[in-house]
Subunit: 404 residues, 2 copies
């Protein structure tokens, strides 16, 4: 698979986070000749918080992570992630696999089972060969390395065309706190190998409730604002682990939350940039809605519209389809107050084509790889920004042939 | 454009309805060398009821029809429909065009303006050349013919690959009532030329409130149960006109409502069969939901999922994507009670692959042109059936290049 044309030039250099080490292995879960398991081990005192798919058919690993999230914790912790098999829709057997991996990891590393978080991504509905992962654990333990986060980013890939990483540093009271994160995901948020998984590590010192609040809040403006195809995975998981190794207390610190949000947004946008078949990166900016919720509805209706997304693929400034998406969104809208722009070019104002509209200028703009669709509803102060990609023949190629 | 592989073998022979006459003209609204206006004239006493798009950006013609629907009526009535220009998102000028066509038609035919219903379908956001339609009216009047409904079905086509018609007769107290209808629509329900327009005529005798109740009720299980791409037009219109010429009173008659529903379902399914790029016709049957509303949510989530629709295009029995769609629907669901079948082949039961599942048998089934996806949620008695088509390269071809 060719690397997405929207990919960053290179994987970033991610700073090591004191208190966390990584290892990867080629366990042969499904793939041959590549790594497919990553282990992250957190020193004693680490705090782990997370957000998870809202799907009612979520996988056994997600249910297990949710049950463990926020339990009273002592000692270290571990995160075990495999690609190749999602262990989703595997009935009661799925929970057995999760428990087996957790127990083996806990025993080997001397951790409480409550402190082992697992994720699985890959084919759905196939029995999970969890023994292959368990068999790889001793070698993983032997290979643990604080600087191996880039290898971890590669081991969790499925249909991803590039590994995804992002980092930030934040100054808190004259001391530096560091955040490094990785992600996988290429269809938002598809059920097979296109699940979105995100693991973020920081040396900040923070209690679970404060970390959970920061992660939940930041998700709302980052991971919950991207869409590739409107489909939602049964396995989507974001885990954020704070080792406390910096000794810098960040509970309630706005700068830390902002830096964490930046890392999450960066990873979220990389997932969009790896959208299956994507050739255009689209930012949808909605303003003037009755409230922020309405703005989100409009933005998501535009971002998920197959007709808008195919028009973008065709480099067609088809603002009529944007009007259509506004109309079907369910948000309050007045046709005759609508204004629509592509980039800085207003194509419609007051419910009609802008008198200064230039088809040539707009057509030139639509040839760019990064596009902005702006909509002002003219009703109030509500605003929302979401990100998506176009809908192309490549998406059909990937998804009409994926499983067979 | 090649005719859809899912098209009926031929346009049906539609019985004439006493009290209604049709004419068509090539007015050059946009197209050259084809008819693009149809006029239907209803004798005095006709009753007209309708259902319309819920889009908040609906077109001027829709707003006008809604305002006229159910007004006290005397004399005859007319329906004027053009293709080539949707008169949608044309600002305040749009209403001027509707009023001009209504006034000219009313004057020529000696009708009240309140009794002239118009629809427009075609490009969005372009000024409507309504004078071309007005100029064609005298010739249309001269050509009125009770047997010309098939020509009317052709004049309203846009990206449709075949004209759509359906009819039924119903016995009421030993007398026969006849229903004949036509439709256009090929993307459900796209904003450009793929709007769905439906015109149904009957010689039944019925008051407006009773006819409206029958039409609204029947729409809920027919036109509101189809989807091609989840997009909603700004112009969707269903008008049902009862001339009363049979003298047979049908208000509240269940047999009449059933026959009307049959005609509406037939036309709705023809719209799906003409879905842009469609190669497979899919019926989604959901049972065992907590209630009918939840069943509809699940059925629509499946029918609108790009991942399910591309899997069908690839002839892949990818039931994992069906699970995903159930999970994201928002309906109550228990992963471990789910059962899924393709046709009569159960692929999953109790949240896991059916032990008797045969990949070969399922693969053979998926090669068929007409497919059933069945989902039983195992929770209650709620049920819903919806219809859709697959998502193919053809859809991308049509929609990435349409306007330019």
């Amino acid at each position: 698979m060719a690397v997405s044309p929207l990919a960053p030039a290179a994987f970033p250099s991610l700073p090591a986070i004191a208190g966390v080490r990584f290892a990867t292995a080629a366990a042969g879960v499904r793939y041959k000749g590549r790594t497919d398991v990553m282990l992250a081990v957190l020193d004693a005192g680490a705090v782990v918080a997370g957000v998870f798919t809202r799907s009612s058919t979520r996988s056994a690993a997600v249910l297990d992570c949710q049950a463990k999230n926020g339990l009273p914790a002592t000692g270290g912790a571990a995160i075990v992630v495999n690609s190749g098999n999602s262990n989703a829709f595997t009935g009661k057997v799925g929970a057995v696999s999760v428990a087996a991996i957790s127990a083996a990891t806990a025993e080997l590393l001397g951790l409480s089972e409550d402190r082992v978080f697992t994720s699985s991504t890959g084919v759905i509905g196939e029995p999970m060969p969890h023994q292959r992962i368990i068999d790889a654990l001793p070698a993983l333990q032997g290979a643990l390395d604080g600087s191996a986060i880039d290898a971890a980013a590669r081991a969790i890939m499925t249909t991803d065309t590039f590994p995804k990483g992002a980092s930030a540093t934040v100054n808190v009271g004259g001391k530096t706190v560091t955040i490094s994160g990785i992600a996988k995901g290429s269809g938002m948020i598809a059920p097979d190998m296109a699940t979105m998984l995100v693991y973020i590590f920081t040396d900040a010192l923070i209690d679970h409730a404060s970390l959970q609040a920061a992660v939940s809040g930041a998700s709302d403006s980052t991971f919950n604002c991207i869409t590739v195809d409107s489909d939602t995975s049964t396995s989507d998981t974001v885990l954020v682990a704070a080792t406390g190794a910096s000794g810098v207390q960040v509970a309630g610190n706005a700068d830390f939350t902002a830096a964490l949000t930046d890392v999450m947004r960066d990873l979220a946008l990389q997932v969009v940039r790896d959208g299956e078949g994507a050739t255009k990166f689209i930012e949808v900016q909605v303003t003037g809605a009755a409230d922020d919720l309405d703005a989100r509805k409009v933005a998501m209706a535009i971002a998920n519209s197959p007709l808008v997304k195919t028009a973008i693929a065709g480099q067609d400034a088809n603002w009529g389809r944007v009007v259509m998406a506004v109309g079907k969104s369910g948000a309050a809208a007045d046709r005759d107050l609508l204004a629509i722009r592509f980039g800085d070019i207003w194509v419609a104002r007051n419910g009609y084509r802008d008198p200064d509209y230039s088809e040539d200028a707009t057509s030139a703009y639509m040839k760019q790889q990064e596009l902005v669709i702006g909509v002002d509803l003219g009703l109030g102060e509500g605003r929302s920004t979401v990100w998506t990609c176009d809908l192309t023949h490549g998406y059909i190629d990937i998804n009409a042939d994926y499983r067979s």
